[in-house]
Amino acid sequence: MAVPILKQSQYLIATIQSALTDHDLVQLRDALVNQVGTLRSKGVIVDVTAMDVMDSFASRTLRDLAYMIRLRGAETVIVGIQPEVAFAMVQLGITLEDVTTALDLEEGLEYLDRKGQHGQRAL
């Protein structure tokens, strides 16, 4: 099942709504990395609230996604990791280092807004 990508002002929001195959995940990654350029987005939010399993492939794909999007000049936030999923992940040694995480969509958007303001002030 393909994941819909919504454009919300300068951000892209992808909400995963069901269990994804590895292929779906790679497709999502490629689509987001593409659209960040074409839509000139400043940030990407991937909402994984509905995922009750996060295996090593999924987390590696998400981490790669974040790195690629950083190279394309935008920020990525992974939001909505469930408590049980989070603990299972660290027990497997998956910690998504260097990837920003937030509690939910709202927090993710707030984080990107804060980042954006800092950027403007720096100019």
Binding site: V79, P83, A86, F87, M89, V90, Q91, L103
Partner: protein
């Protein structure tokens, strides 16, 4: 339940007609001499200084119902009613401090009292006595077993419940400001408690929408490598939920342990004491505490 059924089948099967007749005779004898046997039993309980937590009247009342249940179990050969009664009895007497040896003791006393009465009744006919005892002993032993096991199981259930309750109480997750939780840990950290703590913390982060968590371990005397790694995992899992963790109050001993076992401290954000931790958390959240100085305190 299933096991109990199988066991009761096991005892019913070998009961031949003659044994059944003997048991019937036995039950009739026990019913007939109910009053004096009960009194004798209660007297011996007091003599043996068992059930000291209960008054003589209470002992006699309990003795009566145990006696009746006992006779009924002998008569029917089924133990469900007796099991239920044993559980109920345990529930009532455990809070009063009755010990396992007392319960086992009184049931064995009853068995002895009844056996004595059988000796007295059948002493003239040694063969018949033997056959009566053959019928009586296995059933009596089963009963003693059932009551004792029921008591111990009830005790274990209470212990489990209390352990659960203590665990729940001992790891509070408290919100001190909007988006700021503190988690004071006091006492011994074992792997099970560490796991429960993590679960409660992660749930608390979600429920309170926390962005910063201060874990204070001033009250923890020692920590082993298993728990230390668990702590690090908790910090990482919290980060995946979008919360920053600050650990405070590491004693010199714990600091030594952590360094000696080589826990990766790069990911841990530590501050000396709880006050410092809360100040650091407030800074991260953008709060600033300003003292109300005289003169400028009340905006007119």
């Amino acid at each position: 339940m299933k096991i109990a059924k199988d066991q009761s089948l096991g005892i019913q099967e070998p009961v031949s007609d003659s044994t059944a007749a003997l048991l019937r005779e036995l039950v009739a004898h026990l019913r007939q001499h109910r009053t004096e046997l009960r009194e004798e039993w209660a007297r011996r309980i007091t003599q043996a200084k068992l059930l000291t937590a209960m008054s003589d009247e209470e002992i006699f009342a309990e003795a009566t119902s145990v006696y009746d249940n006992y006779v009924e179990a002998l008569e029917t050969g089924t133990f469900e009613a007796l099991q239920a009664y044993a559980r109920n009895l345990s529930e009532r007497i455990i809070p009063r401090g009755v010990q396992t040896d007392e319960v086992v003791g009184i049931v064995l006393l009853l068995r002895d009292v009844l056996a004595r009465s059988l000796f007295a009744k059948y002493q003239a006919d040694f063969k018949l006595l033997n056959r009566i005892l053959d019928a009586y002993e296995p059933a009596a032993n089963r009963i003693a077993n059932t009551v004792a096991v029921g008591f111990v199981q009830e005790r274990e259930r209470i212990i489990r419940e209390q352990q659960e309750a203590i665990r729940e109480l001992s790891t509070p997750v408290l919100q001190v400001r909007e988006r700021l939780l503190i988690l004071p840990i006091i006492g011994v950290m074992d792997p099970q408690r560490a796991r429960q703590l993590t679960e409660q913390l992660l749930r608390g982060i979600r429920a309170n929408r926390a962005r910063v968590v201060v874990i204070d371990i001033t009250g923890v005397a020692a920590i082993d490598s298993h728990v230390a790694n668990h702590l690090v995992q908790t910090v990482e899992a919290s980060r995946l939920l979008g919360a920053t963790v600050i650990v405070t109050g590491l004693s010199p001993e714990i600091a030594q342990t952590l360094v000696n076992i080589g826990v990766d401290l790069g990911k841990m954000n530590t501050v000396g004491d709880l006050q410092g931790g809360i100040e650091e958390a407030e800074r991260l959240l953008g709060y600033k505490v300003v003292p109300l100085t005289e003169g400028s305190s009340a905006p007119a």
